[in-house]
């Protein structure tokens, strides 16, 4: 941790002042505006906006799809991280870099191409649709794009922990007579729990807020494939600002709680390392 005396290096009050100013204007003020607007609604108005049948269906889908996708990311991420750290195979570097593509690719592009791939005459849809698997304009489609969008998170949180894992732990376990599977389950996996939880939470909270890709693939049918952000946009297009804000506040509160949880988990896992 750094901590140079303010009288020794220049620019402390200037940079801190500007940071606070910019943060306040661009971030805190708009967030406050959102909460103030929501507070100006009466309780009945608020409740009427956030607890309609359509809104409930949207929350359920938003958090359900994000949860399922984050679980899938947990498993795929662990697998990818394990393969990338432990094995060598041709094309490994390419696979390693492709994992980051979802961070760089605009989500709208991802939504567009996924919708194209999984329709009945798409590259993958032509095999899947006859089997009854509807990848586009369905809830499955939403989960698919959320898996894509959240792919890097678990891989990139687990990978460094796995790299730093002391090989002697596994040697000790093997010399005590454990099988590989037992070693993995009892020795390796527990040390990865904090990273796995962090990665899961990151993928989940990204999935909850995701809009750009979902809007292409979901078909946006109320009660069926409408996620909460799409519902907000729909309310906005009806100029129902109050209702849109109420739903937005519900999302915000849940996202901030997630953020808090992530921070607590990270702090705990750091304490564990010491």
């Amino acid at each position: 941790m750094a901590g140079v005396n303010r009288q020794v290096l220049p620019g402390f009050s200037l940079t801190l002042g500007y940071t606070l100013f910019y943060l306040g204007i661009l971030v805190l003020l708009p967030i406050a505006a959102c909460f103030i607007k929501a507070a100006s609604l009466s309780f009945d108005q608020f409740w009427g906006a956030v607890w309609t049948e359509r809104a409930r269906a949207a929350y359920l889908l938003t958090f359900g799809a994000a949860f399922v996708a984050a679980i899938a990311n947990l498993l795929l991420g662990l697998l990818l991280a394990w393969v990338l750290v432990r094995y060598s195979f041709p094309g490994k570097k390419l696979v390693d870099s492709l994992v980051d593509l979802p961070l760089a690719l605009p989500t709208a592009v991802a939504g567009l191409v996924y919708a194209g791939l999984y329709v009945e005459n798409g590259w993958l849809g032509q095999y899947l649709v006859p089997l009854g698997i509807q990848g586009a304009y369905s809830r499955l489609g939403i989960v698919l794009v959320l898996i894509f969008v959240g792919l890097p998170f678990v891989v990139r949180t687990v990978q460094p922990i796995l790299e730093d894992l002391d090989p002697e732990l596994e040697e000790a376990s093997a010399s005590l007579g454990a099988t590989r599977l037992q070693t993995f389950r009892d020795v390796i996996l527990p040390t990865l729990y904090p990273a796995l939880i962090t990665g899961f939470a990151l993928a989940f909270s990204r999935g909850v807020g995701e809009y750009g890709s979902v809007v292409f693939i979901s078909g946006n049918m109320p009660y069926k494939t409408e996620i909460a952000p799409i519902l907000i946009v729909a309310r906005l297009e009806e100029f129902a600002y109050g209702e849109a804000t109420a739903i937005a506040v519900v999302l915000l509160v849940i996202s901030f709680s997630m953020l808090l949880l992530i921070n607590l988990l990270e702090r705990r896992s750091m304490r564990h390392e010491r």
């Binding site: 750094a2 901590g3 990818l80 961070l103 690719l105 191409v113 937005a248 901030f256």
Partner: protein
């Protein structure tokens, strides 16, 4: 840490350090490898190939027409090229300031500030857009005022930079030694307050006197370029700062202290020592910020109003073409953004090796003895 993107520190592993006891049976190894490759192929590789195949499905000529002959598409490219650099520069300046304050100094609320910087990551982009509509939209808090006489704020807004310039100049001209401080520098707080008020008043008055801005006209922020810039800046707010803070901490303050003890002033130190030391981290942050800014959809979608040729950025254009069943056109725009993403990825890999991380400088001791 938080909701978007792992940070730079990680690098690819050096294999060959796998010991006997860590070895898995061959069938497990190859089984897992093939599953992993399949996952990456289905999730990432096939979509990327599909984008280019779909974009070029009607030949290269049509592809070029789709991109450059359609005036709305052309305008969307131009709009993205306007909005993104402005948001980028704003976040860059903020990122540098925040990283300097947080990585070099200890102050109460430092941890809280670091957490607040990450806040935009956990705000759904649509909600972010909504916030700006609530403030600047027609029914928003500032809406009636902006519609009636929106340009009335411009004198005040443009006077703010003048005040900043004044404050910076004041400190730059201030004699270092206490006893050499005369005139306004004897009572710096009073002089700053009075001077700022004077400069602000002078600029406001001047602009109003010469009628620089139109009267009684509405100033559009939502459904116009300023709204797009605000929304983009909000969504990409943390990127540069988050990249720079760990880099600056890893580099440590020693070289800057050396520069100061050799007689450099703040400005000289910043340009000759700080910037060269963090330059790769800076470039890295800019590239990530740029990728996200160009691709931003949700927040921009809400504030844009979808006026073709005026407020459609490239991702919005993709959606509009998609809704119009113009798939080749849609994929053509998408292919450009995909190329940018691939470039970003390559740049990221190249830069990751150059960005200093904590393990590169085990010798860097940031605090004096007491810190141990």
């Amino acid at each position: 840490m938080s909701a978007d993107g792992p940070s730079v520190g990680h690098r690819a592993t050096a294999p060959g350090s796998i010991r006997q006891a860590q070895q898995d049976p061959a069938w497990v190894r190859w089984g897992l490898i093939s599953i992993a490759i399949t996952v990456v192929v289905i999730l990432v590789v096939i979509p990327v190939i599909n984008i280019f195949v779909s974009a070029l499905s009607e030949g290269f000529g049509v592809y070029c027409d789709n991109l450059f002959a359609d005036s709305d598409t052309r305008d969307s490219i131009m709009l993205t090229l306007t909005v993104v650099p402005i948001a980028l520069v704003a976040n860059l300046i903020f990122g540098l300031a925040a990283a300097w304050a947080i990585a070099r100094f200890e102050f109460p609320g430092r941890t809280l500030l670091t957490a607040l910087i990450d806040l935009p990551f956990s705000v759904s982009p649509v909600v972010a857009g909504l916030m700006f509509v609530l403030i600047f939209g027609l029914q928003g808090y500032l809406g009636p005022f902006l519609r009636r006489d929106g340009y009335a704020v411009m004198p005040y807004l443009t006077s703010l930079p003048a005040v900043v310039v004044f404050i910076v100049t004041f400190f730059l001209l201030q004699p270092r030694r206490e006893k050499e401080r005369r005139g306004p520098w004897k009572h710096p707080k009073l002089a700053l307050l009075a001077g700022s008020a004077f400069v602000f008043g002078l600029f406001c008055f001047g602009q109003q006197y010469f009628e620089v801005w139109p009267r009684n006209q509405s100033l559009k922020i939502i459904f116009a370029t300023p709204g797009l810039v605000l929304a983009t800046a909000f969504v990409t707010f943390p990127f540069v700062a988050r990249e720079l803070i760990p880099v600056m901490e890893a580099v440590g303050p020693d070289e800057e202290l050396a520069a100061v003890s050799l007689g450099a002033n703040g400005w000289q130190m910043f340009w000759t020592v700080t910037v060269p030391n963090i330059r790769w981290g800076l470039v890295y942050g800019i590239i990530l910020c740029n990728a996200r800014a160009v691709g931003e959809f949700g927040a921009v979608y809400v504030v844009s109003g979808h006026i073709a040729g005026q407020t459609d950025t490239m991702p919005l254009r993709i959606e509009k073409l998609f809704q119009e069943y113009n798939l080749p056109g849609s994929f053509a725009v998408a292919s450009v953004l995909t190329l940018l993403a691939i470039f970003t990825l390559i740049a990221k890999i190249k830069l990751e090796r150059k960005v200093p991380s904590a393990d590169d400088h085990p010798a860097m001791r940031n605090a004096p003895e007491a810190g141990k």
